[in-house]
């Protein structure tokens, strides 16, 4: 009798645990994205009055939400990122599924790369892509080299694809940037 009660309690507790994973799939259609006012402002000079401003580090909440990352994946195709970066494998633009990050691997650095554009071909999407979608794209870009936890990364592509899904990609430790490539050394 007591055993039965224990079993029942444990079973309910196990089902209760399942609820913990609900947030992973939460679909916020009108959510506040991380603030980007400090990242989304470019200066022409590195000179600053006083001590150097410490780098802004931003936690991208979208990296913990599977829906947001899958939206990033959808936008990656919708906004034709595929046109240059292929499915992350690179083509006209550098690959995004490897360990090499020319302009930084942190979320706010990817945000700045998308918004500001980069020399040798990366266009600036400032004003053309809403901030929250840039954050979703940044989350997805990081998932391509396994920087996100596996339960958040997309587990399957919508179309035929030769590469392994992001969720099965082993994490590649970002290598320190080797500096900005000259145009003659365009990343292959």
């Amino acid at each position: 009798m007591r055993l039965a009660r224990v079993v029942i309690t444990l079973t309910f507790a196990a089902f209760g645990l399942l609820l913990l994973s609900c947030e992973r799939e939460e679909r916020g259609f009108r959510v506040e994205p991380p603030s980007s006012s400090r990242i989304n402002s470019k200066t022409l000079s590195d000179l600053q009055p006083g001590a150097k401003t410490p780098a802004v580090e931003v936690k991208n909440e979208y990296e913990e939400n599977a829906y947001a990352v899958s939206e990033g994946k959808r936008l990656f195709e919708a906004y034709n990122c595929n046109g240059c970066h292929a499915q992350g494998g690179g083509g006209m633009g550098p690959p995004l599924m490897d360990a090499r990050w020319i302009y930084g691997a942190r979320p706010e650095q990817i945000f700045a790369t998308i918004v500001e554009g980069r020399p040798n071909g990366m266009p600036s999407f400032r004003g053309k892509v809403p901030d929250f979608q840039v954050w979703q794209l940044a989350a997805y870009v990081r998932s391509m080299s396994g920087q996100l936890s596996k339960d958040v990364s997309p587990g399957r592509p919508d179309n035929m694809s030769a590469k392994t899904p992001e969720a099965s990609t082993e994490k590649m430790e970002p290598k320190p940037s080797a500096g900005v490539p000259k145009s003659a050394e365009m990343p292959k």
């Binding site: 679909r27 259609f29 009108r30 919708a78 906004y79 053309k128 809403p130 919508d158």
Partner: protein, 365 residues
Amino acid sequence: MKKGKGGEGKGEKEGARATLRSALRPPLPLFPFALLLSGCQGVQSALDPAGPQAGRIGGLWWLMLYTLTAVFVLVMCVLVVAAFRPRGAYRGETASAPDTKPDAGRERRMSRAVIVSVAATVVILFVLLVSSFLTGRSLYSIAASGESALTVKVTGYQWWWKVQYDNQIAGYVVTTANEIHIPVGRPVLFKLTSNDVIHSFWVPNLHGKTDLIPGHETTTWIRADRPGTYRGQCAEFCGHQHAHMAFTVVAESPEQFKAWYDNQLKPAAQPSTPEQARGQQVFMSSPCVMCHRIAGTDAGGAVGPDLTHVASRPTIAAGTLENKRGHLAGWVLDSQKIKPGNRMPPNNLEPEDLQALLDYLQSLK
């Protein structure tokens, strides 16, 4: 218990008749259901056919309704009679003294009744089966009629419809969204496919449903014999806004269709006032340009609906809202409030910019 056997039986019979009569009288609360029949008319009704296929489907529907209603009523009558008939009443038995002796005549009558019922069931099912088959076959007869057809390609998106009129010359392909114009009396071939998940194309007044499947092309035929505006609806659950995925079919005379088609062929109207010019600049410098196309401008996005002639459409957001300035404003600013989950992001526009943008969009006739 045994005394007054005959009289009691008679009283029971009378009582049973009275109960039967009151059971057969239609209860008052059922009358509102009759009002439902008024839903049989209208812009989205399979019972108000405007084309040969819907007519045949409608005919089959009515045949089934009448037949099955008759069967239902008959069965219910027999059931009610059986329920209220005193046990053994046919020869004066009572419940306490059942007559268990076999009766050859009665057995024969019962066998005959069962045989007749089974035969009737088989005949009815056969009639319904054959008429279903014939209806299904006749639905495709206009496909074989060989008349020169108009070909329309419809692509389902979450949650709107892209409509393209096929033409051998690429520049003559008309692209619009959520609105299909067809000439009356001419068969129209629909080539259907989907961009994301399975949708289903359904204009009840014109035809049954056909699924749109990603990576695969399905076809269906439609012919409207009577001018009018008909509402179509996605009929396969496809996500959050499945219910708000509608479109309009406008069946009109060939001349009116030609006029509409020629207008759709033109590139977008150039801004004619300073406000409209400002609105165009707002459009080109904001996220709008990433997804929407306006022919004749630099906006060439293929992700969202084509806006070249957006002001000429009766609705926005796939039949969700009437195409009015206020609705358009609400949609541009915060579409997630109106249709949560749709692919259009909210836009923070300054009031002057918004008004200018609306001026421009409303000039795209």
